[in-house]
């Protein structure tokens, strides 16, 4: 069990980075706590893999430090760190049996044979590989091979973290669930820290205790799946998490009111906070917290329905609110047709205001706590 800290970490693939854009990782300060499962979530090119390779020691960061329990390992080679990694494509030693594969990382570290045997047996049991121990690894399915790669990390008792780089990419959909369950149970039983890179928010949300959201080389938010859903700190988190993503509509201050489309909301004393920023303001709300109601001035946003998508038990309604579109997720019995004029009723607790990309920290009762 190790706590991993990243301090002022920056990385560039260029030898002499000049502008901020030359950096694949731009200033990361992050602590990976003991025994938790983390998901590293972000679109392609956001720096996830760079971060992972710096953690595992396959890459040395250009600037900053990586600390394992306070010990500086920044310049340590992958061989000398107690980190294991599972790659996107299953990596196994084809000429070895499953058992030999699992034993290999211990053999190279000169662990006594009896101890290797016990540990391999234990891990094989944990991963459901016991029946395959004597089989050649070559002929197995991608899912089984991926279990072997995971096992090669788990056999090392001193392993501080297992990094998984989109490990489910090449696995059959039918087998994905089983492997995901195994990952979860391994994490619970062995208390190993898993760091799981993915661009699939569902995978991140189901597997992780903490989600680290990355965009454009920066960590934009770290939090539990619920936190990210309810309180996105950054517009990107709003977009990226939740299906469909958060609604964002330009808004402006007018006296003590916030103008959103054709609606006005009274700001209960938060005008000062908002007036202080020079960045463009936008109003954000998740489709899940919008409902349809009668017109209630100061409470609802008027608009015209442009599209209705029926998803079976629920529907997504697109509403034009004067130049911008908002999506609402409503139950299937709500009647709405394209062209109809409606009023969107946002949950006051779920209304957020963003200045530029970042959320503005407003008191909880800013928009009133009544419904």
């Amino acid at each position: 069990m190790t706590e991993i800290q990243m301090k002022n970490l920056r990385h560039s693939y260029y030898p002499n980075p000049k502008t901020e854009d030359d950096y694949a990782l731009k200033s990361v300060d992050l602590t990976w706590e003991e025994g938790l499962a983390y998901a590293l979530l972000g679109p392609s090119g956001s720096g996830k893999t760079t971060m992972l390779n710096i953690l595992s020691g396959l890459l040395t960061a250009s600037e900053g430090q990586v600390l394992f329990d306070g010990r500086d390992v920044t310049r340590l080679d992958a061989r000398d760190r107690n980190i294991a990694q599972v790659f996107q494509f299953p990596v196994i030693y084809e000429t070895m049996t499953v058992g030999e594969n699992l034993a290999f990382p211990l053999k190279t570290r000169k662990v006594p044979a009896a101890q290797i045997k016990d540990r391999v047996g234990f891990i094989a049991e944990e991963l459901g590989l016991t029946a395959l121990l004597g089989r050649k690894a070559r002929g197995l399915s991608a899912e089984q091979k991926q279990r072997i790669s995971l096992g090669r990390g788990l056999v090392r008792e001193d392993v501080a973290a297992i990094l998984l780089d989109e490990p489910l990419t090449v696995i059959d959909p039918a087998e994905k669930m089983a492997l995901r369950r195994t990952l979860k149970s391994v994490q619970l039983h062995l208390g190993v820290k898993l760091i799981y890179v993915t661009h699939d928010q569902h995978e991140a949300m189901t597997l992780a205790d903490r989600v680290v959201v990355m965009d454009d080389g920066e960590v934009v938010q770290v939090g539990s799946p619920e936190e990210l859903f309810e309180n996105p700190a950054h517009k990107f988190v709003g977009y990226f998490i939740g299906t469909p993503g958060m609604n964002f509509v330009d808004c402006a201050l007018d006296g003590s009111d916030l103008v959103v489309g054709n609606a006005r909301f009274a700001l209960n004393g938060a005008v000062q906070t908002l007036a202080g920023t020079s960045k463009p303001l936008s109003f954000g709300i998740r489709p899940d917290f919008l409902s349809l109601s009668e017109a209630r001035p100061g409470r609802t946003i008027p608009g015209t329905v442009t599209r209705v998508e029926n998803h079976g038990d629920e529907q997504i309604i697109a509403v034009d609110v004067g130049g911008a579109q908002m999506l609402a997720r409503v139950e299937d019995h709500v009647r709405a047709r394209a062209g109809e004029n409606v009023h969107l009723n946002p949950d006051p607790q779920a209304m957020r205001v963003f200045a530029g990309q970042r959320v503005v920290d407003l008191p909880r009762n800013t928009f009133g706590d009544l419904t």
Partner: protein
């Protein structure tokens, strides 16, 4: 079966004709000659398997076969490991890659008898660079007189001519390995040798099988270089199957024995290659 279906057999006809002309008919001519004693076009006698019986007891053929097997094993044992070693040390990217590959590819482009002429001169102790260099070390080097010197020269020549083939094949095989395999091995704490043994070698198995088979077949057929370089000598110490065959067929005009020799030679190559191929592929499956 309907008539229309049967007509499809005509589509196979061109292939049958081609195969007949390029393999079966010449081969059958050989078989025909090999069972006769021929003095002239109108003066020949059927002798059955007599030539075969005689040849199988022939010391010259047996010695040639023994030398052939020694030579082929020797060059394979040198070229395969050396080729892999060179492939491993070649640069992986950059401009030097193309340069190295061209330099390595050059010997492969040279015609066999040109190689023979080159080495015939190169290895001469009086005017050849290589031979003179050895002589300068105080060694009495003469490939046309000394059996060991002759063997040394032909083995070095063959290594020079053909190692590049293994290098190129192994290099392409190495480039096809996903970097993740190296990273995983690094994380698992594998040594350089273990990376080679458990990552690189298994991935090279396919191309190496092809490389070894090509080299084996070619080395069993070696002829022109030796005719130019040693002429099979000194004595017949570097006479392999090809030279011995030509000596019989052209030199002595013994068409019957030469034909049966050819067929035996052919069977030897086919058998050796087949056995070798099977043992390689079986070893791989068994791994």
């Amino acid at each position: 079966m309907s008539e229309i279906n049967n007509r499809a057999w005509f589509l196979v006809l061109p292939v049958l004709v081609i195969v007949a002309f390029n393999a079966i008919i010449p081969m059958m001519t050989m078989v025909n000659y090999s069972v006769q004693d021929i003095f002239g076009p109108d003066n020949r006698y059927f002798v059955g398997l007599e030539w075969y019986k005689e040849l199988l007891g022939d010391v010259e053929l047996r010695n040639a076969l023994r030398r052939q097997v020694t030579f082929s094993s020797l060059v394979l044992l040198i070229q395969v490991p050396l080729g892999i070693l060179i492939a491993l040390t070649l640069p992986q990217k950059g401009k030097s890659v193309a340069f190295c590959l061209i330099i390595l590819g050059l010997p492969l482009l040279m015609p066999w008898n040109v190689v023979g002429v080159m080495w015939q001169i190169f290895a001469r102790a009086d005017i050849g660079l290589g031979g003179a260099a050895i002589a300068a070390l105080g060694i009495d080097f003469n490939y046309s007189r000394d059996v060991l010197d002759a063997w040394f020269t032909i083995v070095v020549m063959d290594v020079w001519h053909w190692t590049s083939l293994i290098v190129l094949l192994a290099y392409s095989g190495l480039r096809a390995i996903d970097p993740a395999f190296y990273r995983a091995a690094q994380i698992d704490g594998a040594s350089r040798w273990q990376v080679f043994r458990f990552v690189e070698l298994p991935k090279l198995a396919g191309v190496l099988t092809i490389g070894i088979m090509l080299r084996l077949m070619d080395s069993l057929m070696i002829y022109s270089e030796l005719v130019v370089l040693t002429g099979g000598g000194p004595g017949s110490s570097t006479s392999f199957l090809s030279q011995t065959l030509v000596k019989k067929a052209i030199g002595q005009f013994d068409l019957g024995p030469a034909a049966s020799f050819s067929i035996i030679y052919f069977m030897i190559i086919v058998t050796l290659c087949f056995v070798f191929f099977r043992s390689i592929t079986r070893a791989q499956e068994g791994e």
